[in-house]
Symmetry: D2
């Protein structure tokens, strides 16, 4: 049994709606992220790396990876509960596994639990073209009361 | 891309050797755990639940789940580096997802990174007969110098 | 500003009530823990180490430390909200800092936030007689609806 | 016993050296952070909040807080081991405690362990003028071999 095989609730939103929402609601966010896969319980985010994501030695910075994991989990939650800007991160725990270097980072977010008050997910990050993960996160979102 | 598809190094030990080692080295551990699956990068541990694993209401206790996750990751690491009692947990982060109740808990441990000095893995725990996970952990082991 | 100086809500229970409650509600727990300090936002738990808390080399086991951190945070939460067996751990993240060896472990739990639905705290563990911490944890409890 | 009272090794660097180093080595970082306190085992970082740190509703973003915690711990480690750009974050676990809103965020980093290969610390974040913490993190740095 792995995270890829978990049962998941149905989707409420498609990738286009998610991308449109995040661009409207978070104009300060990097507009270059794209939702490149979406299925019940899973979402993939694709982040082209720009100059200001890098540290000396062309290492992709920790904050870039944490932000991407957080955003991937946020969009995965919204995909299942609908547009709800008031969902907020309550916990993020990230292991940095390898030096990250490359032109694109992919974040695969998987839903571990979608409850009434919280959602918990796992996010695996890697550089496009290399299967070895550069970071892994567990993220909890606190959810507002829903109908 | 999910944890189930990660590249992994070859195994050094089989399940019987792991079980024999842990029973000899940790006699105080619950002797009822069994390694029921083992492949490069993955190990499953099966824990029958006894009276002293339970809290009021027949809920499987948090310490039982944390111990099982830690043991599963320990054996997964040993399976890849050989019998090395000096590997020690340096970090364990667990999300408790649902009330756990049942007769057997399964822990699926997956290797995220096996480095020279540390190993990082993910462990998913569920009650036998129910696919919804009851807990998920990220665990880091500090490894002794190796040849 | 440190954890020791945080503002905290008033206590609802004293140490004797907490100890009596935990012995009645969790008879399977080690009955040897004692609440040796209690103040708004802070609680200290004292755990004498017995044979079954040890690993080879007389190292105090990780599960012993995780259980103690979890119990210290549970009692700290109850001290502020009253006897409420339905508070459950939702997250525990522990860093193991040094090999733990000794006859008594002390756990100092501090409240970071007591909200309506969750409580978050920090727990520092050390061996009696040595100031260097052996482990540190952040613990979140999910709280049942309260009046 | 609290984090504020832990024994700590002596400082190797002062605040001015740390600030000069980070501005030279990480030009893409926000240049507005200041080290406003430094003592053995402790460092405070002060971050004035700008427009691009905010989310809708003038909430200080999670990535801003995670970056600040990571930077505070990095500087605290360097203060004790000397200028060493190759120290890298291996784990960051953050609990978001309250909505953060205000003009300045303060991060108080405390050293839990400075080992040969890793350093572990705790960071408490709050908005200037309010003692209630908005976030708390545990951060581990992997250290390069040292003389």
């Amino acid at each position: 049994m792995s995270i890829a095989d978990l049962p998941a609730p149905p989707l409420q939103l498609d990738a286009e709606t998610l991308e449109g929402f995040i661009r409207a609601a978070f104009p300060e966010l990097d507009v270059s992220v794209r939702v490149t896969a979406l299925a019940p319980g899973h979402l993939r985010l694709r982040q082209p790396i720009a100059r200001d994501h890098l540290r000396p030695g062309d290492t992709i910075s920790g904050p870039t990876l944490m932000t991407l994991a957080d955003t991937a989990m946020y969009l995965l939650v919204l995909a299942h509960i609908g547009l709800e800007p008031m969902a907020v991160t309550s916990h993020l725990s990230m292991d940095f596994l390898r030096r990250a270097s490359g032109e694109v980072v992919l974040a695969d977010a998987a839903l571990l639990r979608l409850g009434r008050r919280t959602a918990v997910g796992h996010v695996l990050l890697r550089v496009e073209g290399d299967d070895a993960p550069v970071a892994a996160a567990q993220v909890t979102y606190a959810l507002p009361p829903r109908a």
